[in-house]
Symmetry: C2
Subunit: 234 residues, 2 copies
């Protein structure tokens, strides 16, 4: 955020505080996703129970940051570039909060899974999906911290890999269902977890798009989707 | 929106146009959800294919409305109540766009379902979930159109019913999986559809919360969740 142009030191501080608060919220979301998926991959029920209790902190930060944005717009009447920044924050915190929800869902399903070691085999099929999504989330937050639009354009491409992994995981889990119908309820719960992980990738992609919007001022959402749609219709 | 207090007729018109545009987007989202779920319930593959192609219109409206909001904030420096309104619109269009995505997913899965009449039996289990969610979506948009906060507080309670229906549907679909393992892929696709329908209920709830925020000025998001969390911890 280029804060050097602002005459008021107080205003500068407010913008910096806002940015710090978003990064703080991002850190909590990352922790919560990492804990939930660690619990899932290792079958740690206790960790899952703890992780599912942390979401209220993320929710409280969303409400508080929205309020800060609203107050800043009302009191400071921000110039175009600051307004774009604040506007993007309003969108970013929505995505962060939804990621918190998905992590909470993963933790809750994990806490409900039966603890027999047999079911461990399908956790292995999730490893690569989890790893890619963790990296994508971490990189997206990093792009926001540095306001690095070039990197953001690279990171958002990773969502295609996450989506492909998800389809793959689904296929593997379906074969487990066929092989071992007794384990059906656990397998379906793991499917819901996989879906939640994939959704976190979608939200990380959204954050990258907002970083591009902050830095370059153009709205690239749906542009790629639209290009591929027109391509298909040709 | 109380536009009588504004001196500038042009500004009044802009606020009215913004509101009309959000309602227009809401109408498209409702159509797309109704078409996708109709195709699902009746097994109409052709309707599903058509429904899955309409999402780009909703996406384009989201980008356009965000731009309008940003321009209005920059040029008009809105007073507190108008700012709250514009702020809520920025959030509402995000939820509308996500509902469009969920409808698109339902339509795509439906288009992929095999057309054998056998699988029709589990569409019946979705009827009530679909009906409740349609009503909730329609009522939520109505609350925004009338800015009716009292009604919004009633409508958001319906999400509990939608969530309960979803759990029910899941249970029924699991028994179908056990009975007829050959149909596993279709059944899982129908499960994904059920999940998307349930998500539409969540987004409709969010819209109701924003209506309360516009009218009453207080942010009720997560308040109910937090109360139930504290209740559990006692």
């Amino acid at each position: 955020m280029n804060t050097q142009d602002h005459i008021s030191k107080e205003y500068n501080d407010e913008l910096e505080q806002l940015r710090a608060k978003v990064l703080n919220m991002g850190g909590l979301v990352e922790d919560s996703f990492n804990d939930a998926t660690k619990a899932l991959l290792k079958g740690k029920v206790q960790l899952a129970r703890e992780a599912s209790k942390e979401d209220y902190k993320i929710n409280a930060l969303e409400v508080s940051i929205d309020e800060d944005c609203s107050n800043m717009i009302a009191l400071r009447q921000p110039a175009a570039s600051d307004l774009r920044n604040i506007f993007a924050v309003v969108k970013i915190v929505t995505d962060l909060e939804r990621m918190g929800d998905e992590s909470e869902k993963i933790a809750k399903f994990t806490a409900e899974l039966s603890t027999n070691s047999h079911s461990m085999k399908f956790y292995n099929s999730l490893k690569s999906l989890v790893q890619n999504t963790r990296e994508m989330l971490s990189a997206a937050l990093d792009c926001y911290a540095r306001l690095d639009a070039e990197k953001a354009l690279e990171v958002l491409e990773l969502d295609n890999e996450v989506d492909a992994e998800f389809i793959n995981v689904n296929r593997i889990l379906t074969t487990y269902l066929l092989e071992d119908i007794k384990n059906i309820e656990d397998t379906i719960k793991v499917m819901w977890c996989a879906r939640s992980i994939e959704r976190v990738g979608d939200h990380a992609k959204n954050i990258c798009e907002y970083v591009v919007y902050i830095v370059k001022g153009n709205d690239i959402r749906h542009v790629i989707d639209e290009e591929s749609r027109q391509g298909r219709e040709k």
